[in-house]
């Protein structure tokens, strides 16, 4: 039975530039790419997976049409729209592979699972491949799916979830074909995607360039169906972005509920084509920052908004502090060729964080970055320096404040009291108060940096840090309370705090810069 072709069936949620939100098929999506503002998928893992799917299709279609292309051609596509005929021709060429229920080539699935001895008699509920659903022994708050009573899910939705799952599945036990399996390409990553005004522009900005040696870099649907040795085999390196974007990190086979093939409640599931990590070829959408041992991939952590890691997204000439996502480099090359039409670039950072196999949180964050930051390492260095200063001030504030909190407790000099005070501080509202104040002021800092007014940026950021410190200190003092012990602790620690902000205050006292402090 061949049914549900993704080229024609409506399954991709998109938002048109006039605000209308619809679900459409792939053919229509590329035909309308110039009139579509963005994809309208709401779950971050699925959203980035869909973009990656579209990028792989665009890349392969352009390769098929002309073998290679230059930045100049990309500029033309950016201004005039993607070559819809070439992409349509490509999609039509591979039409057979875009059937969700195809006996030999089900889209992004493994047909072998229907016949393999290990899986042919085993099914799992569809919730297995929906990151936000509870299944097995991994319950999710607010989701009450029960494995023994699977509901049925429209195929259009399930395909989006399957794509997100393949990219973001955490590594761990699988117990079918192999004991455990590697994580998906983007597991635990805050992926970066430059955004244009339309979907076509976004695809142009984020498209990985054509390389002579990328002939072997094929998306899943162009490859032969995976066989048992490959599924059981060792992890393999990605051949390139197309491979990463569409890697079958788990073997899945959707089972249609009935002949019409509109809904699915059961699937077959097994270990997939594991992806080996190659530190010399990081994911094009992953950014890295310097950690205590080597570079750390940028992810989402609790209580830390992604803007604090903004320096990881701007180029670092020394290569020691940051390794921005390659995709921002592609966008920068294109924007430089475009000239000064639009000196600002919208960047979306999104993803899912997990701890082992436990999914913790997902996020979408959007920034407007001045293109100058991407193009000039010295401007990026300046931003890095400013944000480092605010982190350092926070660290000192945290130290002073936790000593103060300890002083308000019995036996203040004991190390347990100190550590209890630190925990109290970390769980309190001060970090949020401090960083949200700075976050509000960040856009203006970026604007000042974009226009290269370095002195103004300096005084502006000092004033911002002072304001944030004042709010942070007031917050921790409220947390401290007003008992006699608290008052004593506050009186004793205040001089340290005043010492911390003295350099910022001294700066404000000079009359010429007073106006910048509000």
């Amino acid at each position: 039975m061949k049914s549900y072709n993704l080229l024609d069936e409506p399954w991709l949620p998109v938002r048109y530039t006039d605000g209308q939100v619809r679900e459409i098929g792939l053919l229509q999506l590329f035909a309308d790419a110039g009139r579509i503002a963005a994809l309208a998928e709401t779950a971050p893992p699925n959203l980035i997976a869909l973009y990656r799917l579209l990028l792989a299709i665009t890349h392969r279609a352009l390769t098929r049409q002309s073998g290679s292309w230059t930045v100049k051609e990309m500029v033309r596509y950016y201004r005039e729209g993607l070559p819809a005929e070439a992409i349509h021709a490509y999609l039509e060429h591979w039409r057979e592979r875009f059937y969700v229920f195809h006996p030999e080539y089900p889209f992004m699935q493994v047909a072998l699972l229907a016949t393999a001895e290990e899986t042919r008699n085993k099914t799992k509920p569809w919730t297995q491949i929906a990151l936000e659903s509870s299944n097995g022994n991994a319950p999710v708050l607010f989701d009450h799916a029960v494995d023994t009573q699977p509901s049925s899910m429209p195929v259009s939705r399930l395909i989006c979830q399957m794509l997100g799952f393949l990219q973001y599945t955490p590594g761990g036990l699988v117990k079918t074909l192999r004991d455990s399996d590697k994580a998906g390409a983007l597991a635990n990553t805050a992926a970066v995607l430059p955004l244009g005004k339309t979907l076509a522009q976004t695809l142009c900005l984020a498209l990985h360039p054509a390389k002579a040696d990328s002939a072997g870099d094929l998306p899943a649907w162009e490859k032969a169906q995976p066989q048992m040795p490959a599924l059981r085999g060792e992890p393999t390196l990605a051949a390139g972005p197309n491979d990463r974007y569409t890697r079958l990190s788990r073997a899945i086979l959707l089972l249609a509920d009935d002949e019409t093939g509109r809904t699915v409640s059961q699937i077959r599931f097994a270990a997939g084509l594991a992806l080996a990590d190659d530190e010399h070829a990081p994911d094009t959408m992953a950014s890295y920052r310097a950690g205590s041992v080597g570079m750390v991939r940028l992810g989402f952590s609790e209580g830390r908004a992604i803007w604090r890691d903004l320096p990881s997204l701007v180029p670092d000439a020394s290569g020691k502090h940051a390794l921005p996502a390659a995709v921002l480099g592609y966008a920068n090359v294109l924007l430089e060729k475009l000239g000064d039409d639009d000196p600002w670039l919208n960047v979306m950072v999104l993803g899912l964080a997990s701890d082992q196999a436990k999914l913790l949180r997902w996020r979408v964050d959007c920034f407007e970055l001045p293109q100058r930051l991407l193009a000039q390492p010295d401007a990026g260095e300046l931003l890095r320096c400013y944000l480092r200063e605010s982190e350092e001030l926070y660290a000192s504030l945290r130290k002073t404040a936790s000593i103060m909190l300890a002083k308000a407790m019995p036996d203040p000099d004991h190390k347990d009291t100190r550590s209890r005070a630190r925990t109290l501080f970390d769980n309190g509202p001060t970090a949020a108060a401090y960083f949200s104040t700075l976050e509000r002021r960040l856009p203006e800092l970026l604007e000042i940096l974009a226009t290269d007014q370095i002195e103004q940026a300096d005084s502006y950021w000092k004033a911002s840090r002072l304001e944030a410190a004042e709010i942070g200190w007031r917050t921790v003092c409220r947390q401290l309370g007003d008992s006699a012990r608290a008052l004593r602790a506050r009186a004793q620690s205040e001089s340290f705090y005043l010492g911390l902000i003295r350099p910022l205050r001294a700066h404000l006292a000079s009359p010429s810069e007073e106006t910048s402090h509000v």
Partner: protein, 171 residues
């Protein structure tokens, strides 16, 4: 400082110079609830605002200050009571003074006169002058039953004054 405050402290200073009997009466008034010892009325009541009732914070503050002044009649604008006490703790290296001060900070308005009296005795022993005008103004607000925020601000200021000297030396 308001004129009213200055006038009252000036009045107490005059009494101290010319009317030792009055000072004795005011000293004795400390043994009673503020404003409840009739012999002290002639020296204080004329400064009580006309529209205030018996337990008004303005009235109580005047009686408390008068009793404290009578016990330690050395007014000097340079130093607040808390600062004087902080200095005293440093000079004597005495932990009990800090405990008394912490007790003072934790005191309810109705208990405050009691703690203040103990503290003023300590300060008097070492002859530190105290700014009574500032103390009176603080008491106006501290003894008010509903001005919680003002009370907190005063307590914070007292704590800062008290600990400023030692903490500056520590660092």
């Amino acid at each position: 400082m308001s004129d009213h405050t200055q006038a009252f402290i000036q009045h107490l200073q005059d009494l101290q110079q010319h009317n030792r009997g009055a000072m004795a009466i005011l000293r004795r008034s400390a043994g009673f609830a503020p404003g409840a010892y009739p012999p002290a009325f002639p020296y204080v009541e004329r400064f009580v605002p006309v529209d205030s009732h018996a337990q008004d914070s303005a009235r109580l503050a005047l009686y408390v200050t008068a009793a404290l002044y009578a016990r330690h009649p050395q007014h000097g604008p340079a130093q607040s009571l808390a600062a004087a006490l902080g200095k005293l703790m440093q000079e004597r290296q005495s932990g009990s003074i800090e405990q008394r001060f912490v007790a003072l900070l934790a005191a309810d308005p109705e208990d405050l006169p009691h703690y203040l009296r103990q503290i003023i005795t300590l300060v008097a022993a070492d002859g530190h002058a105290i700014n009574y005008e500032a103390l009176l103004e603080d008491l106006f607000r501290y003894l008010h039953p509903y001005q919680f925020e003002a009370r907190d601000r005063i307590r914070q200021r007292w704590a800062r004054d008290f600990y400023r000297q030692p903490s500056l030396q520590e660092h």
